[in-house]
């Protein structure tokens, strides 16, 4: 059957996340972006919503089952509040969700309960590399088997909260395949840059470069244990998360510019009453709804183990990247000169919107 209505549980979750996103994340967003700092309390409050906890089974300290659809709904809602804040709240998922999805039993026992049951702690992951042709399936960072150990070398970029993290999953190229490795940050050979990354957007989020110089870890550190894991599943989950966040940011831009257009007068009428503006808004809304459905379908396919789920996740992600650009650009355009001024959030939505093409790996459903 087809059905487009979130179930009761999802509606409750979306309601709670939406409230937090609007009241807490969004009201703090401007200040956080300008000062490049997110209040600790803000992150803790988001963590207490229990998104990760709700998608982790009881055996590992949680109280539910993971659903990509439910997560996608939550990510959209949260990113609609503020992208940087949303990514910060969800950073521990970058470490926990791959373990939940692909980790060995031993790895699950070792990490999940202590992350799930505790306060927000910056467990993180490193996927992105600083190269124009960065491709998650062709990483430059390498992992090589050496006796009973793996030796990793290379450089990672845009790693959230690396400085404070106790451990991270580092993705590396193992004989042509991308594989994750669980690495405590105090492992010798792993070094974190002193300076934070400076990007066009999401400035409130602490991101760091991470260097790996012959970092040696036991073979049991490989995600999934000796036989490893299917990275495609993780990549699809990351793409769906990115796409959902893109839908959220685009929705924020549409709502703000729409409200503005209904207030702002020109030539004796509200500018929203002019077809030139009204049509832009109609197209933005249509684009968002179309891509949202594509993302939902991809998430549903992933949850149900459908054959083409990974391809669909790629299509949804690729579509979402274009949608975010189209919508957030128009958000600025509708406000005209005011859209270019940082007092209004649409310029930040535009900067954040541009990021989705290269920020895969900063969120996962």
């Amino acid at each position: 059957m087809y059905s487009f209505e979130p179930n009761e549980e999802q509606q409750m979750l979306v309601g709670a996340v939406g409230k937090y996103a609007e009241n807490d994340l969004r009201s703090a967003a401007h200040e956080a972006e300008e000062s490049r700092e997110l209040p600790k309390k803000l992150i803790s409050k988001g963590w207490e919503l229990g998104l990760l906890q709700a998608s982790t089974p009881e055996a590992y300290g949680g109280f539910g089952e993971r659903s990509a659809v439910t997560s996608a709904l939550a990510v959209e809602e949260m990113a609609c509040g503020d992208l940087a804040g949303a990514l910060a709240v969800m950073t521990p998922s970058l470490f926990a969700t791959p373990i939940l999805l692909a980790g060995s039993e031993e790895q699950k026992q070792a990490y999940l309960p202590k992350i799930i049951e505790g306060e927000w702690q910056p467990y993180t992951a490193a996927l992105i590399e600083y190269a124009f042709d960065f491709d998650p399936n062709e990483l430059r960072t390498t992992a090589k088997l050496s006796g009973a150990d793996y030796v990793l070398s290379g450089e990672k970029a845009f790693v959230p909260f690396a400085k404070d993290a106790q451990a991270m999953i580092v993705y590396a190229n193992l004989d042509g395949q991308t594989q994750g490795f669980i690495i405590p940050t105090n492992t010798s050979g792993l070094s974190i840059a002193d300076e934070r990354e400076k990007l066009m957007g999401i400035n409130a989020l602490s991101l760091y470069r991470v260097k790996l110089d012959n970092v040696t870890v036991p073979a049991s550190s490989r995600l999934g244990g000796a036989s490893g894991h299917n990275f495609e599943l993780l990549l699809a989950s990351m793409r769906i998360a990115s796409a959902s966040a893109a839908v959220g940011v685009s929705k924020a831009s549409l709502e703000y510019s729409m409200n503005y257009a209904k207030e702002r007068e020109a030539f004796g009428v509200k500018i929203a009453q002019k077809q030139a503006i009204a049509f832009m808004l109609a197209e933005m809304a249509t684009e968002i709804e179309a891509i949202r459905l594509l993302v939902w379908e991809a998430a549903w396919m992933l949850d149900n183990g459908k054959e083409d789920a990974f391809k669909q996740a790629y299509l949804a992600f690729t579509g979402a990247v274009d949608m975010a650009m189209m919508v957030t650009d128009r958000g600025v355009q509708i406000l005209g000169g005011h859209g270019y001024i940082r007092e209004h959030p649409v310029e930040m939505y535009l900067r954040n919107g541009r990021g989705f093409a290269m920020l895969t790996g900063l969120a996962i459903v």
């Binding site: 059957m1 087809y2 059905s3 487009f4 209505e5 979130p6 179930n7 999802q10 659809v69 124009f132 042709d133 960065f134 491709d135 399936n137 729409m258 257009a261 209904k262 929203a272 009453q273 077809q275 009204a278 049509f279 808004l281 109609a282 197209e283 809304a285 249509t286 709804e289 179309a290 891509i291 459905l293 594509l294 939902w296 379908e297 549903w300 396919m301 149900n304 990974f310 391809k311 790629y314 299509l315 949804a316 690729t318 579509g319 990247v321 274009d322 093409a357």
Partner: protein
């Protein structure tokens, strides 16, 4: 309720059957009837009538889904099924799909605005022995999207209790097959929109059922078109046409409300996603053909690569797939809402806006990528390009539907956003 994307089994089965029909009864004759405009593919029409009758469908309208007593309540999927049927038939040939026998938009108007007696009276014929057609006459030379500018008049003759209709209608899809008395066809009808009180504007607008062969009605012209050439598009002139009193759909008295007109608009809410579905069928045909030809020529699409590593053709094909699928999902959502009796004016128009955009873009791009092969009439691709364009025009142009979407999201009336 939950979020689900599983195509219901009955729909998958129908798609399978219709695909065979599309390949054997439609594609095989597509070119012939594109080049011989106004010729009638009797074989296809007869076949479809027999096939639909034997399956109890009768015509391409959503099935009545009354649950059997005591049976477990099933989810209604009438409009979803219809959308899938139309998509597949249009994948075969959209011109042929448009002349599939049955009530079409004419019956839809009776369904939406008629009384139970009228429905029983006018709609039973589509299950008869012969293929039967009905058409909707709305557009006039001076009234396209602005249907309130309609000049056709209907006046009640108090003495005979008949309506007398005068005016001229253009762009009537299936007008010839619905009105002209072909011996191969059953007795059809046209639904004519006319004003019974020009001072009342939209509130005075009513639809009238005019039986085929009625005196005073003439098919003045059959249009020569860019595409969908197997489908006849008629100009119909009405001079002192007399129809029985009971052939008026809706109330014969005019109150200063717009309910009469809303009947027509409600029909559009139901039919817009179906027109979108039709366009998507054409676009899918073009995209599948393109991918097939690319494969033959040794071009593979490397899904999963970052955009900046893809070739131009790969980017185009991937974008086309995204456009096609997301447009289809908007259609599915709109008809799912219709099936579940949720108001879907916005979603209907969104699906039409998107489908109009993507079907034209996809067919245009496919022709471009195929180079001389795309432009040649050896293949159907150039025909699909011509056929696709109508999607963004009929049943409300892309612009009119943008207006509908804009009013919905802004909460504006027609006065606030003209």
């Amino acid at each position: 309720m939950t979020i689900e994307f599983e195509t219901p089994k009955p729909i998958t089965q129908i798609q399978f059957v219709l695909k065979t029909v599309a390949e054997n009864m439609m594609r095989s004759q597509s070119r012939e009837f594109d080049e011989n405009e106004h010729a009638i593919p009797w074989g296809y029409i007869e076949f479809m009538h027999t096939a639909m009758k034997s399956t109890g469908g009768g015509s391409l309208t959503p099935r009545d889904e009354k649950p059997k007593e005591g049976a477990e309540k099933r989810q209604p999927i009438g409009y979803q099924t219809l959308a899938a049927q139309i998509e597949m038939l249009s994948w075969g040939d959209v011109g042929f799909y448009l002349i599939t026998p049955g009530g079409g938009l004419g019956a839809a108007a009776v369904q939406a605005a008629g009384s139970p007696e009228q429905r029983a009276n006018f709609l039973a014929r589509f299950n008869g022995d012969k293929p039967t057609f009905a058409a909707m006459c709305m557009t006039e030379a001076g009234a396209g999207s602005d249907t309130s500018a309609i000049r056709t008049r209907a006046v009640l003759d108090e003495a005979t209790q008949e309506w007398i209709i005068n005016g001229e209608k253009i762009f009537v899809t299936g007008g010839d097959k619905s009105f002209t008395e072909y011996e191969q066809f059953g007795k059809g009808f046209i639904v004519v929109w006319a004003s019974i009180d020009p001072t009342a504007g939209r509130a005075g607008m009513r639809a009238f059922v005019v039986e085929s062969g009625t005196k005073g009605v003439t098919i003045a012209k059959l249009e020569h078109k860019l595409g969908i050439r197997a489908s006849d598009t008629a100009t119909i002139s009405l001079v002192d046409v007399r129809v029985p009193y009971d052939n008026i759909l809706g109330s014969p008295t005019v109150e200063k409300t717009t309910t009469g007109f809303k009947g027509a608009m409600a029909t559009f809410d139901a039919t817009r996603p179906l027109v979108a579905a039709s366009g998507i069928g054409v676009a899918r045909a073009a995209l599948e053909f393109l991918k097939e030809k690319l494969t033959e020529n040794g071009v593979t699409i490397r899904y999963g690569l970052p955009r900046n590593k893809l070739t131009s053709i790969e980017r185009d094909v991937i974008d086309m797939e995204i456009q096609l699928r997301s447009a289809w999902l908007l259609v599915i959502k709109a008809v799912w809402m219709a099936d579940n009796k949720k108001s879907n004016a916005m979603e209907s128009s969104m699906s039409k806006v998107r489908a109009g955009d993507v079907t034209t873009k996809i067919t245009q791009k496919a022709v471009e990528i195929m180079g001389p092969l795309g432009y040649s009439r050896e293949f159907l691709l150039e025909k699909w390009f011509r056929d696709a364009k109508i999607t963004d025009i009929y049943e409300g142009t892309g612009q009119i539907n943008r207006l509908v979407v804009a009013r919905q999201i802004l909460g504006y009336s027609g006065k606030e956003l003209r």
